[in-house]
């Protein structure tokens, strides 16, 4: 999951701060924020916003092409695709939001601890991170669904466990960079308690990286969860969900292709927006004083 969105920090940054590029990037970032805000509204209001009941079946008008009544046509059960796309934002947004938040808290704590303490604690945590690193998250989700039964919330919990090492590794690296700085030495000399040094002195300096990284985690888990739904091993059948719609409507590519393409476009748009915001935040927050 997170596998494909690992940050390439430092290496490719300098050029993006050049003026010429910034003028091109800014509208894209605005668009990204707009898309994410739109999806958030859709996720929060869901069925209130949908023009029709996303579950209502009209067997007289199945596989209909787009029209005034059905903007994106209907699916094989005559359900309004446009309404289902809006309602589908819920499972696409809230799962990744919870994963990103939980992994943010746990990953930052573990990363700070490992980076600050060093020694045996660091070695143990990093061994565990190395072991968890580059595991095919979706395959693990499929296996868990096969052994225990498919469940959206179980998948969210498993993804949190698989994502924490990713955050931990990034934060630990950023913490190690702060360690030799004079201010750390100074607060140590003043006798400030360890947890206060970590949370109130070091963390503010690594937080830009943590926030940017969380956007990437969000995008990654969105894509992985959608993959699980696509395989039919997440939400129960019938739930409006982008991944599930994509697989159920695949046979409709010949009659009403929009029923398949629209949810796919939504997945990619949301993921790419979060990735762009993450990259942009990283640039903004790190070049304006804080951090490096």
């Amino acid at each position: 999951m997170t596998a494909n969105t690992v940050l390439v920090l430092a290496d490719e940054r300098p050029e993006t701060t050049r003026r010429g590029r910034r003028r091109v990037v800014a509208p894209l970032i605005w668009l990204s924020f707009l898309i994410v805000a739109g999806v958030l509204v859709m996720a929060a209001l869901g069925t209130l916003l949908a023009p029709q009941n996303p579950a209502a079946q009209h067997l007289a008008t199945i596989n209909a092409s787009p029209s005034g009544a059905h903007w994106l046509g209907t699916d094989a059960l005559g359900r309004d695709v446009f309404s289902r796309v809006i309602a589908g934002a819920r499972t696409a947004f809230f799962g990744p939001l919870i994963i990103a938040a939980a992994s943010f808290v746990l990953g930052n704590l573990l990363g700070l601890f490992a980076g600050y303490r060093g020694g045996l604690a660091d070695a143990i945590i990093m061994r565990w991170v190395d072991f968890m690193w580059a595991l095919p998250a979706l395959v693990i989700l499929v296996v868990v669904a096969g052994a225990v039964g498919s469940s959206y919330w179980l998948a969210v919990v498993v993804l949190i466990v698989l994502t924490v090492p990713f955050d931990t590794r990034v934060i630990r690296g950023a913490t190690l960079e702060q360690m030799p700085r004079p201010y750390v030495e100074a607060v140590k000399t003043l006798g400030v308690p360890r947890w206060k040094i970590m949370l109130f002195h070091i963390w503010p300096n690594v937080s830009p990286i943590a926030v940017a990284n969380t956007c990437l985690v969000f995008a990654g888990s969105l894509v992985t969860l959608a993959g699980l739904e696509f395989l039919g091993l997440g939400v129960p059948p019938g739930t409006p969900d982008w991944g599930l719609m994509l697989s159920q409507n695949e046979a409709l590519l010949f009659t009403n292709p929009l029923a398949t393409i629209a949810p796919g476009v939504m997945i990619v748009l949301t993921a790419i927006s979060m990735n762009l915001i993450g990259d942009w935040l990283y640039e903004q927050l790190t070049s304006r004083g804080a951090g490096r």
Binding site: M1, A3, N4, T5, V6, V8, D11, E12, E15, R21, V24, M126, D130, W133, A134, L135, P136, A137, L138, V139, V142, V143, A145, G146, A147, V148, G149, R169, R172, G173, A219, V223, T224, A226, G227, F230, L231, G232, L233, G243, L246, S247, E250, L253, F254, P257, T260, I261, G264, I267, V268, A271, I272, N275, L276
Partner: protein, 321 residues
Amino acid sequence: MSGVGLLFFVLRRLVVLAILLVLISFVTFSLLYISPGNLIDILLGARPHTPATVRALTNEYHLNKPFMVQYWLWAQQAGQLKFGTSITTSLPVTSEIGARLGLTLYLGIYSFVLTMVFGVGLGVASALRRGSFIDRGLTGGVMLGLSTPAFVASVALLYVFAIQVHWFPAYGVGAGFFDEFWHLTLPSVALAVTTVAYVVRHTRAAMIGTLDQDYVIFARARGLSSRRVLYVYLLRNALIPVITISGVILSSLIVGVVLVEVAFSLPGLGSLLVTAATAKDIPVLQGVVLLFAVVIVVANLLADVVYMLVDPRIRVGGRSA
């Protein structure tokens, strides 16, 4: 590095590998016990529940013996590549896997070649023409590729190249090498979208870092041809990050294979895994998981060895991060 050092390194990693395999096999075996419900019911599936079938299953899975003994007997069988019989089809798991292995390997190798050729090639081209129109286009393409999951790419390619213009077939696997090649092109491209983007990004970053190095500037100053500078000085360093991220590439390919095989209805290991998960066919699940795990563990070991051979600066036994 000396030959003895390398040998010691490989031996050390082999011990770690053995420990990992024992751990993985234990977790895989436990899948049967994690599964909620009566063990006999799970193993029976849809087959009739009679005293005779129950007795046969109890004997086959040694259910009347202690847990650790069961695991030991299962592991011995697994070591001989025997994972029992499928609950849904009643065929041996090994033959189920064997029948599908070829297709998945074909897909995987095809995508891997695409990833290496286009990933490294475009990454180098992007870095050499840094800031140009091509470079910006590629950077945007990388963003798109990284955000496009394999199943969305599959559906998009199916729609454009199989339904709109009939260049490639929408279904089937084909017979014979070239027919298969033709049938598996769309799935392989869909599978390679993410990995190509990932390799382009890392190759570009590594190349840009290398371009400013003193030894490259010196090589240029000596008047070496730009071709020679590229192949001898730059490419070797550009390949190192590709090896470092090989673990991520492999895991991305395995995830992708599952999605692509389902999207294109191809009978491979990925679709077998999903069918087994849907039907709660635990023995098949165990067989496929163990196979994937062994591939990942062994590939990571190989990557580490290649890494050391290509980059002599790596310290043996040094910490990875």
